[in-house]
Amino acid sequence: MAEFPAPAGTNKMAVGTGPVVQLSGVRKAYHTGTAIETEVLHGIDLSLQPGEFCAVMGPSGSGKSTLLNLVGLLDRPTAGSLRLFDTETTGLDDHALTRLRGHHIGFVFQYHHLITAFSVLENVMMPMLGAAGFPDAAMQQRASALIASVGLSQWQNQPAGKLSGGQQQRVAIARALAMNPALVLADEPTGNLDTKSADDVFALLQDVNREHGTTVLFVTHNPTLAARCPRTIHVIDGRVIEE
């Protein structure tokens, strides 16, 4: 991956030197409209060190996405401790969680979820734009560099919807990296792609991890891709089992 300027006001080192992610006894239960709660995660303990690349595997409905949503601060645990970047997050309000998420976590979803009203460049600029409030030249420069790093320079001014599935997923990775996050959460990013595109996307994430020291939590059903990750955990029936 090419080097690109970091967005103003963000720095991975500023978020602590301990584990990037530290879950202790994390439980997650949902109300399903009755008095009975359905517990999806049963006391998860998990630690991710800076620069780790960890695959998460498990059957559908085992709680992988729930785990990712909790780590990504999109959801709150019912019980347990969830520390990110040396910060206990369970007591934080929505504003603080949003800020932490926006500045230090990048998301790549199974479906690219680009905003079709914007061009490729604008999609990649979006997290920076949201954080700064106004567009500026540095933001645009960084977004261009990120798009170049995923090999889509010639598409940067095209509407996001005009790209192929693989290309869109690469744009989604560029967008996830916009704020130079310490942690990238990828929820089956290759699930909808053909083998070649899936390999490209996986390689991109590996590059991000290797070249920028970004911690990557990578959910996949693909054992071949999981086998290429230095660490794999399995989530089975709401429990984490280390490989």
Binding site: N69, G72, L74, D75, D94, H95, T98, R99, R101, G102, H103, F107, F109, H113, I115, T116, A117, F118, E122, M125, M126, P127, L129, G130, A131, A132, G133, F134, P135, D136, A137, Q140, N157, R175, M179
Partner: protein
Amino acid sequence: MLKPWTPFEWIVALRFLREGRLQTLFILSGVAIGVGVIVFMSAVLAGMQSNFIRRVLSAQAHIQLLPPQDVSRPLRQAASAPGTVVVDAIVQAPRQRVKSIDQWQAVAAQIRAMPQVLVVSPAAAGSALVTRGSASRSVSLAGILPAQYYRIVNLEDKLLRGHARLAATDILVGAELASDLGVSVGDKLHLATANGAAATLTIIGIFDLGNRGANERSTFVALHTAQSLLGLPGGVTSLDVTVRDVYAAETIAQRITATTGVDAQSWIKTSAQFFTAISAQTTANTAIRFFVGLSVAFGIASVLVVAVVQKSREIGILRAMGISQGQILRVFLLQGGLLGFGGSLAGCGIGALALILWQRYARNADGTPLFPLVFDPKLFLSALLLATLTGLIAAFAPALRAARLNPVEAIRG
């Protein structure tokens, strides 16, 4: 390309509106038509009302001060005290005499000093009999000070023939009266009043008050001529007053009565039916504006509710990217405000165009405009502001819903 220094919320709001351009176009058209109707109706109604009021009040004073009426009291024994015997309990309404307002000059000076008052004009009025050869008519004789009275009722503008510079032996008569008596400018008329006074006056002008009945009865002479004919040396039977704000006439009349002790009657009371009609028109217009505004608000709200549902995944993604609830709220509020503003801008254009067409094509039989329309910038400005505010208020519920979306559920769809 994103323009520098355009706030994030504006960028996203404008892009979302542009993406759903058909939906945006429809709701903009809806708002524009609604605002156009409001602007057009308000301007037409305001023009019509001011025309009515101008017509009515250009032929009468806003407030008239009158001497107290004669009343009958039961006849009691001398040195009457509460409980004394009533000698004659039958009470008949007395015949009203022509009489003067007590100390009218002091009262007039007092009223003139009031800041809301424009003109105070004394008048001596009563009835008289005019004869011309074998023809005679009973008329209403009004003695006026032309310099003051013409500022209330501009008789010079209503003249069909002659002039209105009244001297001691001059008289102005209505068109129908002149026709009935077969007289014209320069002819003499003999006037006699009930108290036996009589004079021969020269017709110097014939006027049209716009009302056949008034033209058959009305005559105007100089104040001192009327005073001597009516047996009111130095006295006046009324003080006619005009005020700056015609709608405040009743309040001012009450204040005058309280200050001077003279009975003051405003046009609002004396022309109660007319005023009620004007008020009813205003109420109907307000109701129509309210319901049109309400339908505009519901239109904007429904479009934004649909937009929130359509954009829920994007909202979830934006939230995942670190966009705050406040920013999402502002994105949708802005959309509401922009729809209101854009629609009302177009609506003001539609309203103005409709008014121009109305002025051009809605005409009297003689080709003159039905009534003058006023293009009041305040009307357009208030329509813009109100519609924008309505858009913001209408957007609030959908915006709140968008801001409160659970990102996980929103992304999952």
